[in-house]
């Protein structure tokens, strides 16, 4: 019976792949997978529906890239401060605070983004609307920071103390020790933390849907509205007839998302394992 319970995880993974594939598969026959590489996403049209996921992929990529540009410096430097410099009491206060950030529901953060952050972005850049890729990225980095901080901090803590002592004994200052010894030694763990953070950011749905403006265009301008893969599924799935081509196309997006996050996860875990760090 316990083996049965333990096998459920495997079963669920298999079922996820199976059922996403099953619902998406008819799309591969008609109109064919090449339809996904169209440059336009116009799922409802009187003339010709187009199911190109490139604008959605580029939307997800832009938001993710911007979010990581914000997340990486904040979380890595924050983790260095908490792990290496903060006093024990200070650490005991800082850590739960950052954990609270991780447990705020994404729809609440999305709401905060919509009501507080978007107007700020709008007036700061003098735009017509604050709902764009940048606002989404800021919000996503708020979500990714706690994950990346806590794994990076574990990585920094798992660097053997003798490394630091040896460096200090050789006359290096504390700062030199941190940046020349501790951080390089913890780098694989920090990279894995960032990759898991990227996985989280790509998969995030509600907050992104609420603040990115949802325009399916290919752009590299952070101040343009964009539409991500996750938001497309969440926004359109409620309105499509089950079994239609549009429905299958949304499942295709789901398969792409699943494969991307799965790949990131596997690589992140490999990095952690190779360097003997536990997550």
């Amino acid at each position: 019976m316990l083996i049965g319970a333990a096998s459920t995880s495997v079963l669920i993974v298999v079922l996820i792949f199976l059922f996403l594939g099953k619902e998406a598969a008819p799309f591969a026959l008609t109109p064919g997978l090449s339809a996904l590489f169209d440059s336009k996403w116009i799922p409802v049209s009187f003339q010709r529906e187009r199911f190109g996921i490139l604008p959605l992929l580029s939307g997800s990529a832009l938001v993710t890239l911007l979010a990581m540009l914000i997340t990486i410096p904040f979380s890595v430097l924050g983790a260095i401060y908490i792990a290496e410099l903060a006093k024990p009491l200070e650490r005991e206060i800082l850590k739960p605070f950052i954990e609270i950030l991780a447990s705020i529901p994404s729809v609440v953060l999305g709401f905060f983004g919509l009501v507080v952050l978007a107007p700020l972005v709008k007036s700061f850049f003098g735009l017509n609307t604050g709902l764009n890729a940048l606002t989404g990225a800021i919000l996503l980095s708020i979500m990714a920071i706690p994950t990346v901080i806590s794994i990076s901090e574990d990585a920094l803590n798992s660097v053997p103390h003798v490394y630091k002592r040896a460096s200090l004994a050789l006359g290096a200052s504390q700062l030199q020790t941190i940046f020349r010894v501790t951080v390089p030694a913890a780098l694989p763990g920090i990279i894995a933390a960032v990759m898991l953070g990227v996985g989280r950011v790509i998969g995030e749905t509600m907050a992104v849907m609420m603040v990115t403006g949802n325009a399916a265009i290919i752009t590299a301008n952070p101040l343009d509205p964009v539409r991500t893969m996750t938001a497309t599924i969440a926004a359109e799935m409620g309105e499509v007839p089950f079994g239609s081509v549009h429905y299958q196309a949304l499942f295709c997006i789901g398969v792409v998302l699943l494969l991307v996050t799965f790949g990131l996860n596997v690589i992140g875990q490999q990095v952690l394992r190779r360097y003997g760090m536990r997550q």
Binding site: A5, L20, F74, Y81, P96, F111, T230, I233, T261, N265
Partner: protein, 283 residues
């Protein structure tokens, strides 16, 4: 921490960055609490919504989330704990456990909207449960399973080996040992981990969007095959789909505050339970 001027400058910068994150958390909480509190009264949490949520209360949404949490935990807890007992007490390190562990890691990384699609494909359509509490709870249970397994395993591993060896030496069978000498001491850890996982589920919107949540349904469900409203979805609808979004802002803040209190309350409760039991059992 004395050093040159430039060293102190860099330390100051690192500290500033860390405290900026803390300040941000504080500001988000402050904003929602301050603007949500005026709406929060007995009528709001115990009344039914009127005018598609523009006035009245949010009882159906609170009840819906409560049922979903209950459903999720009653599916995920036995599976997660059973799975953890197998992995930590019975399994030999081999191919089978490696596959299980890989599956758990994979599940933990699957995006919440993909769980929604999966729940739609399997529970709603294939099993014909329809959009219902049952479908939603099962979908959420799949999502929180990895959290519960990992937390339960850690709790089991924290019980000293000596407890098991002493019991086995006295002639108890393996299961008797686990039941009387391992489970009682790891229970608090398992409960804590499960509550933390379920707290996350309570705040999730994407998985229930496609499997259970109702746009506007001002009544309480009769069976597990009914649709329900849920707090996170209600907040999303009020904030983005309502024609008069600006006007219903107080309702939105009120809903956000109730959801936040529920989720943070669950987490704080879990942390409190852990602290309490840590004092009780020391080894």
């Amino acid at each position: 921490m004395s050093g040159s001027f430039s060293e102190n400058l860099i330390y100051g910068l690192l500290r500033a960055i860390t405290y900026a994150i803390v300040l941000l958390v504080g500001y988000i909480l402050f904003d929602i609490v301050i603007k949500g509190l005026p709406v929060l009264n007995w009528e709001f949490v115990s009344g039914y919504p009127h005018q598609s949520g523009a006035s009245g209360g949010i009882l159906p949404a609170i009840a819906g989330t409560f049922y979903l949490v209950l459903g999720t935990i009653s599916v995920a807890l036995p599976l997660g704990v059973g799975s953890a007992i197998y992995l930590s007490e019975y399994a030999f390190q081999g191919k089978f456990t490696t596959i299980i562990r890989m599956a758990i890691i994979t599940l933990a990384g699957v995006p919440s909207i993909v769980y929604g699609l999966f729940g739609l494909g399997l529970f709603v359509l294939f099993f014909r449960f329809g959009a219902s509490i049952l479908s939603g709870s099962l979908t959420l249970a799949c999502m929180v399973l990895p959290t519960i397994i990992v937390a339960s395993e850690e709790a089991l591993r924290a019980v000293p080996k000596g407890y098991r060896e002493a019991s086995l030496a006295l002639g108890a069978t393996k299961w008797e040992t686990i039941r009387t000498n391992v489970l009682p001491y790891s229970l608090s850890g398992m409960i804590t981990g499960s509550i933390l996982g379920v707290g996350r589920a309570a705040g999730e919107t994407a998985p229930i969007l496609l499997t259970v949540a109702a746009f506007f349904l001002p009544k309480l469900p009769n069976s597990i095959f009914d649709q329900v409203m849920a707090l996170p979805y209600h907040l999303y609808i009020l904030a983005t789909q309502h024609p008069d979004a600006e006007k219903v802002r107080p309702m939105q803040y009120g809903t956000a505050l109730v959801l936040l209190l529920l989720v943070l309350g669950l987490s704080l409760g879990a942390i409190f339970i852990r602290a309490h039991y840590r004092k009780k059992y020391k080894w």
